[in-house]
Symmetry: C2
Subunit: 322 residues, 2 copies
Amino acid sequence: MLSLDDIRAAARRIEGVAHRTPVLTSRGLDERAGGRLHLKAENLQRIGAFKFRGAFNCIAQLDDRQRAAGVVASSSGNHAQAVALAATLAGTQAVILMPADAPLSKRAATEALGAEVVEFDRYSDDREALTRELADRSGRTVVHAYDDPRIMAGAGTTAVELIDAVGALDVLVVPLGGGGLISGCAVAAKALAPGVRVVGVEPAASDDGQRSLASGERVRVAVGATIADGQQLPQLGVQTFAVIREHVDEIVTVADHEIVEAMGVLFERLKVVAEPSGASALAAVLAGRVDVAGREVGVVLSGGNIDRGRFAALIAPAGGAA
Amino acid sequence: MLSLDDIRAAARRIEGVAHRTPVLTSRGLDERAGGRLHLKAENLQRIGAFKFRGAFNCIAQLDDRQRAAGVVASSSGNHAQAVALAATLAGTQAVILMPADAPLSKRAATEALGAEVVEFDRYSDDREALTRELADRSGRTVVHAYDDPRIMAGAGTTAVELIDAVGALDVLVVPLGGGGLISGCAVAAKALAPGVRVVGVEPAASDDGQRSLASGERVRVAVGATIADGQQLPQLGVQTFAVIREHVDEIVTVADHEIVEAMGVLFERLKVVAEPSGASALAAVLAGRVDVAGREVGVVLSGGNIDRGRFAALIAPAGGAA
């Protein structure tokens, strides 16, 4: 499966390429939460999210022939920009499949990082099949957004850096979507801080992770409406679930209003910008969903990509109390 | 005057108490600016601004008798919270003189950090005289916001940490208000990176620094309207000007719209929140006011304290292009 050695190897590959992001702390926040929080600020990572770690770790391992053929990924989110930048830095070229109705700003940002964007219709086309077909036809390597040990190992370097910086943790709280981030972080944390409790956080509207861990089987859900667009996935990956089942202690959910509250706290107290999914782990802590009393608690802020208009509307709604 | 030794001593005093703030970089920002920018994120400092460094360095040097008597400062801005927290941490107590029409949130935040707030009328009362009188009557030590070598030395630790982290700089760009931050930073930078060019940045509406450096005398101006409330000062300090005159190479000004542009870039690219004054140095770089082509450039982000409503209105105005 996935080992600490894989994650250590990933850490060597991304060294000097990915940012070693800061760990943020706030006495005021600790008083409010009741534990000592160490916020790993992956919103300050290159392209604004942890996704760059896995994408680069994956693409840096391509051989010459694969590098000449290029890579392909499907995403309208942070994975798109992560793969685009990682491909450019690794001396290859990416094609990104993006829904035709994705925001123009996402498309432009991805192209600016050197990728070619190919549109598909999110309602009529099968994204996975299209990606596979394009890969087969062109010889490009598929870079999956989460269900790949190279992606999981890259994401796990987040926890290695956090524990390097602050020492053993009692609890590690990680946002959960497809499971790439938490699977890598859980393997690293359990190896480096054996007593650590690893808690995943997903939006209540997409609680497949919680159901899957409870039932022991990979449950698929109909995703409801949520502001946490980075976590709107109906099902964990096959490989991520295998790791999660073994290494994650608990999965809790948060409501959108709790995420907004956490985004506001990050703005006001920490002076950083988190996108909704990026603030979800902190939201769970502040909502009392995770037992942190008197503990040393790692919290991953997974991303900060949000349009300024949307950010303003969420944290300072017109006519709102703010 | 002020020496590197004073700043080194301040660095030892604040170690483990002040945050060693991260240095942020962005390839995209570098491409836009044309130089390599190293952003010293003092907006992520305790109380959200560099001011904590000087306040703690000053208050930590009080003797037992002075500590028993307490301190007094006059501020409705970041200095108020800096003195309040530094006093609490150093085992003494602060009285903060604050205008009666200061925002309630500022007052509450200062009180929450352990200070007593005393109101004055900013139109009829003489703030300096009141502070002095209160100090004389109570035996409290005055903690000036900038014109004190202990404050200047504390602020200068910002540049020491920056140069420690990134190596010698070609240019260092620093926001300028009363001159506490730039005087300390200039002394440190000139000693540690002898060829460095130190540039101060002030709002065009308060260009006393630029005029003072040009004329060689401490010029007083009528401060115009600006969003950069941390730099709305009519005149440099006596002691800060003496240092600035000797160690600062140039002072440039920025318009409010240039500051807003920089705040937006910090939000979008770096995922951090800067208050207007805190973004002023970057604003000057992005506006082409500082020659950074091909250079290693330190830029101090001095603070991040801004209400969410005001931040939203500035970076994402209703009906605006954002």
